[in-house]
């Protein structure tokens, strides 16, 4: 029942956006994304959450990773990305290369991200974070980071 409802939701959203995209020219419309679970080189993956707000040109995000700690708190941060649309919002399979800067509870950071949004709803990212801490730069990967996109 839950799966059927989810499929129906995806179908309705896709249909809605397909008609809107056909009518739209240049795209400055906003998509909100909620990222929920990422793979990791250890069993169990990483509980990493992000709320992202993006157009075809830029994307801003807030994220928290419950698998990593900066001091006593889970790693949290915010990023601002420049987005290069390989196939943008009007495509049924969107594909973006992104590069951005941000701040986290561990230190300043750089984000390099590839995002793919299928049927305007299912989002899969490949993300790399470079976090500058005293005396070194930490590279942290989110090999496949899965979530939902909500196109407005």
């Amino acid at each position: 029942m839950k799966r059927r409802f989810l499929l129906l939701l995806i179908a309705v959203t896709a249909l809605f956006n397909a008609t809107k995209s056909a009518a739209a020219g240049s795209d400055d419309r906003v998509t909100y994304s909620l990222m929920l679970q990422s793979l990791a080189p250890n069993a169990g993956g990483q509980q990493a959450y992000a709320l992202r707000r993006g157009t075809d040109k830029i994307e801003m995000s807030l994220f928290a990773n419950r698998s990593l700690y900066a001091g006593n708190f889970p790693l949290m941060g915010a990023t601002y990305d420049w987005r290069f649309a390989i196939c943008g919002r009007s495509c049924f399979w969107q594909f973006y290369a992104q590069a951005g800067v941000g701040l986290s509870t561990a230190g300043p950071m750089v984000e390099i991200l590839w995002s793919s949004i299928l049927l305007w709803t299912v989002r899969i990212d490949m993300a790399t974070h470079l976090i500058v801490i005293p005396n070194r730069v930490i590279t942290w990967s989110y090999p496949l980071w899965v979530g939902f996109a909500i196109p407005l």
């Binding site: 990422s38 990791a40 590279t139």
Partner: protein, 184 residues
Amino acid sequence: MLQRLTKSCLLVAFFCAPRTYGASYSVLSSAGLMQQPTSHYYHFVYGGSGQAEFFEQKFLVRGSYLQRPKFEEAGFVDQDSGAFAFVGSQIAGNKIFGVTALIGGGRINGYIRATDEYYSSEDAPERSYSISGLSTALEASARWGSLHVAVNHQTFVGYVDREQLNAYVGWPYNFFLVNVGFTL
């Protein structure tokens, strides 16, 4: 006969391409750092790539090879290497400065071998791995005449089987490279 004809046609197409499709060919040498999935150390890597660009860098094809030097310590020697194939496009910039996005796949191989006689006599004197997967790269480049300089970040995500996927396991590799080469 047919095979020869096909080869000849391909050769003619290859050499005529610059005039027809605004194509150019580049050879690049690479040096930089690699981070493996289960390690937070950065390893030195080096390698090279060959690239064909068409339609004024709107479409490009690249093959590249990277390896890390052999590391020998405490009776063991180990090394990793990877080969990748990409298609890409310049997504921002002009003829001199640009940002290029590349996507493709590849394979990373590695081994650890016992060189010490004591360890060599054990059951497993050598262990190796080979992992195929998806690879993406984002590159900022500059060109002066035929000189081509680029700073590149490449991610490789190794294939996971169903059992690993159910356990949310992934195998990410990161490369931070400086590419220097010439356009022919």
